[in-house]
């Protein structure tokens, strides 16, 4: 199709592209192992995190380790041992400091029934967030007063 060969109106100028590529001059190559396996489901925002290590304390698998400097974000040392339970996210006292991001091969899609639009986790320009809290809200509830027959741990009810 002829149109496809036409230059789109909003395409950057050749000079711009050239400048961009030439920025690479002087960047050094690193000798390093391959990127992490697709299991790193935890992302820490160093700007928000205060390094309290609450996430480190609740992780069942010790995938996170405290930073060597106090107050710095913990380090994701063993992402391949993550169960993706996100208890670390739940216990974080600073919203947004640690969040869960499913690895790419775990991202699910959905269809908006009325419009037929298709969305997926991780897409560019996602739809607005749905802010409805879950049943019972997000918080932990207080202990209640023992209100029933006993608090001794005995069986409390007789079967009918």
């Amino acid at each position: 199709m002829a149109e496809d060969r036409d230059r789109p109106a909003d395409a950057p100028e050749a000079d711009e592209l050239k400048d961009k590529v030439e920025e690479l001059v002087g960047i050094e190559a690193e000798l390093t192992s391959n990127p992490a396996t697709p299991c790193a489901a935890i992302v820490i925002d160093a700007e928000i995190c205060t390094g309290c290590n609450r996430c480190v304390d609740v992780c069942r698998s010790d995938v996170l380790m405290p930073a060597s400097t106090k107050g710095r974000p913990p380090v994701l040392v063993y992402p391949d041992e993550c169960w993706f339970c996100a208890c670390c996210v739940e216990h974080c006292p600073r919203p947004g400091a640690i969040r869960m991001e499913h690895p790419l091969n775990q991202r699910i899609g959905w269809k908006r029934k009325d419009t037929g639009e298709y969305f997926r986790i991780g897409m560019k320009d996602p739809p607005p967030a749905n802010t409805r809290p879950p049943v019972g809200g997000w918080g932990v509830r207080p202990r209640r007063r023992p209100s029933r027959e006993s608090s001794t741990g005995c069986p409390r009810t007789e079967p009918r």
Binding site: W83, H102, V135
Partner: protein, 648 residues
């Protein structure tokens, strides 16, 4: 990455503690046990490899609380349930341990009331579901699956472990996080005798624990990832249960001479093909009853157990007498292949009645394990809105589309490799326990998934609280004995060997490679189709690896030491599975157990439990009849045994 280890390391430094009761594994069973024993005045220590505030398979949440046959709305009593066909429950099958099941049925509701006292909402306290088909207006209880019999509660348990942990702290229970049990201590150091405590490793500091107790509870999980250990394809979605469940409890109890059964039972697994748990559109478990449509909006029918199409949504939740849960029409795959349904399929939440929609996505998905943040928060922040959106079902194979197995336990030929197996989900192998939840060894009890033949969150809670009472009773007359130094030193030397073993450059081997090799042996020599000669070859391989590569396994820090010891655990569990498989001379559909040299399927003479134990170097096998729990020395009916044993 190479940095200093963040924790102070003291390899082999010994810490000695003792208590009345030692609980190994601070998951659901261990926590309930510790609390019920502590309330009776026992001094309790709980050890856990992870952090008790969240650890264990139930540590990421619970949303449906089954077996609540004594709740005020239940139309079925525990005795009716245990004697009816459906009383077998989904978690047990023909080889289910029905005494454990009965204990669960008797105490499930009580455990729910305990949880309510400790903070978990088990009712619709916020009146969000007033008028819902599944709400009892007087008690505000919400029910799942079957709105007539009312035996499964919908609960808000995303933080269930936080509540348990808080209660344990309040009762002054000693909690040792990050301690992995590495052996059980026996009287005078002789395996096969009374268990008098355990040894353990601090997986952060490398310290060694020697823990003495009058009674020890194994509340460890079922062994996992014995055949498939893959961290590449889907991370640890590979493991439905806590991936740290290597089988520590099995391995240490085996070496201590405890009796096991059903270890030969396994199942095919989707392993690394999984999607986020409860995070794809489907029609069962947390998504039970959700309408499934094809890409053109054409609805897939639900049918009852007899295959009759159910016309309304309400019928899915009101089964006629004798009918179990509804399901998608079983010929769906065929009809997809014929073009009758066009892929992909979607879970049509917007078409569901409002209360059902909110119960599925908002209550169940949010409080069930690994759904609060991974599904509810992640999906809604990305814009998913159950009022407008239909979540896509997986697109694996027509046989599993719209059903739950892809995130659970694919058993569909072609959807997973035949050599990819896993210990059975429901009624798998473990310790043989009696009506006291006690094993064949004095001083050793088991609860939750560690006991053979039954499983699940509610069973863990119920058997845990029951075992806690039994142990509190037991310790009144049991002696406290000092550990045998020889036995302690033997385990300490074994535990730290990988720290001093060679590095990779001089012939050593890292834990991941060792684990991959052990899995390969299981896949090759203990796959679906087993035989005497191949199983024996597998045992030979494991023994050979133990002497060679495993002896050179090296650990560069306490964390790697933990993982290396888990591989050793899986080797022992692999041997236990092979020995149990050798001892069963028949094939069984119920056990998904197949011997090419004994092809007869479920011959009557093989309908029994095969019990194995280690006696010195020898593996002994004996038989127990199905239903041994109602035969002498026990009473002939469930209620009577419960009355005699339950220690109220």
């Amino acid at each position: 990455m190479s940095s200093a280890w963040p924790y102070e390391v003291h390899y082999a430094r010994e810490r000695d503690l003792s208590a009345d009761i030692l609980v190994v594994g601070g998951g659901i069973a261990g926590c309930h046990a510790a609390i019920s024993a502590a309330k009776r005045g026992a001094k309790v220590i709980v050890i856990d490899k992870g952090a008790v505030i969240r650890s264990g398979s139930g540590g990421a949440g619970v949303d449906h609380w089954g077996g609540a046959f004594t709740n005020p709305c239940s139309k079925i009593s525990p005795d009716e349930a245990i004697s009816s066909a459906s009383g077998h429950g989904p978690m047990a099958g023909a080889y289910g341990m029905k005494h454990i099941q009965y204990i669960t049925f008797r105490e499930s509701w009580d455990a729910a009331l305990d949880m309510e006292e400790w903070g978990m909402a088990i009712r619709d306290e916020d009146d969000e579901f007033v008028g819902a088909d599944f709400r009892d207006e007087q008690t505000k209880l919400l029910f799942a699956y079957d709105y007539d019999s009312c035996t499964t509660l919908r609960v808000q348990g995303a933080d269930v472990k936080v509540y348990l942990y808080r209660e344990m702290k309040r009762l002054g229970i000693t909690i040792l996080d990050r301690v992995m049990a590495t052996s059980l201590l026996s009287e005078d150091g002789i395996p096969g005798t009374r268990v008098i405590g355990a040894t353990g490793l601090d997986v952060r500091t490398g310290e060694f624990y020697v823990l003495g107790a009058k009674a020890t509870l194994l509340a460890t999980g079922q062994p996992l990832r014995i055949w498939v250990f893959n961290t590449e394809l889907a991370g640890l979605y590979t493991a439905h249960d806590d991936p740290n469940c290597a089988g520590d409890g099995c391995a240490i109890a085996w070496k201590a001479g405890a009796e096991f059964t059903l270890m030969e039972r396994s199942m095919q697994t989707s392993g690394p093909l999984r999607y986020p748990a409860y995070g794809t559109g489907n029609s069962s478990n947390t998504w039970y009853g959700c309408t499934i449509v094809d890409t053109n909006g054409k609805e897939v029918p639900y049918v009852d157990s007899d295959g009759n199409v159910l016309e309304t949504v309400a019928e899915r939740f009101h089964p006629k007498s004798g009918q179990g849960q509804a399901r998608l029409t079983p010929d769906l795959a065929e009809r997809i292949r014929k073009g009758e349904y066009v892929l992909p399929l979607y879970a049509d939440l917007p078409s569901m009645p409002e209360h059902e929609r909110r119960a599925i996505f908002g209550l169940m998905v949010c409080h069930e394990g690994k759904t609060r943040i991974p599904v509810y928060k992640t999906y809604t922040e990305a814009g998913f809105d159950p009022d407008q959106d239909m979540l896509q079902a997986n697109v694996h194979a027509p046989e599993v589309m719209g059903r739950d197995p892809v995130w659970w336990d694919v058993k569909t030929p072609g959807a997973a490799a035949p050599q990819w197996r896993e210990t059975a989900f429901g009624g798998g192998g473990g310790l043989v326990v009696d009506w006291d939840m006690k094993t064949n060894l004095d001083g050793l009890f088991a609860a939750g998934n560690q006991a053979a033949g039954y499983m699940g969150h509610v069973s863990a809670a119920a058997t845990g609280r029951y075992a806690g009472r039994k142990m509190a009773e037991y310790i009144r007359t049991a002696p406290q004995q000092a550990p045998d130094r020889g036995q302690v030193e033997l385990d300490r030397a074994r535990v730290y060997r990988p720290v001093s073993a060679g590095s990779q450059s001089n012939g050593g081997i890292g834990w991941k490679e060792l684990q991959a090799g052990v899995c390969r042996v299981m896949q090759d020599y203990c796959a679906r189709d087993k035989s005497e000669t191949v199983l024996r070859k597998g045992l030979e391989w494991l023994q050979s690896i133990r002497e060679s590569e495993a002896a050179r396994a090296h650990a560069r820090n306490p964390h790697e030491l933990w993982r290396t010891l888990e591989v050793m655990v899986r080797m022992t569990v692999g041997e236990m599975i092979m020995h149990a498989s050798l001892a069963r001379h028949g094939s069984s559909r119920d056990l998904d157990f197949w011997r090419v040299d004994y092809p007869n399927e479920d011959p009557p003479e093989q309908r029994k439990f095969i019990v194995t134990r280690l006696d010195g170097e020898e593996v002994r096998a004996r038989e127990l009849p199905l239903g041994f729990w109602l035969q002498p020395p026990y009473a002939p009916d469930y209620a009577e045994n419960y009355h005699l044993h339950s220690a109220p």
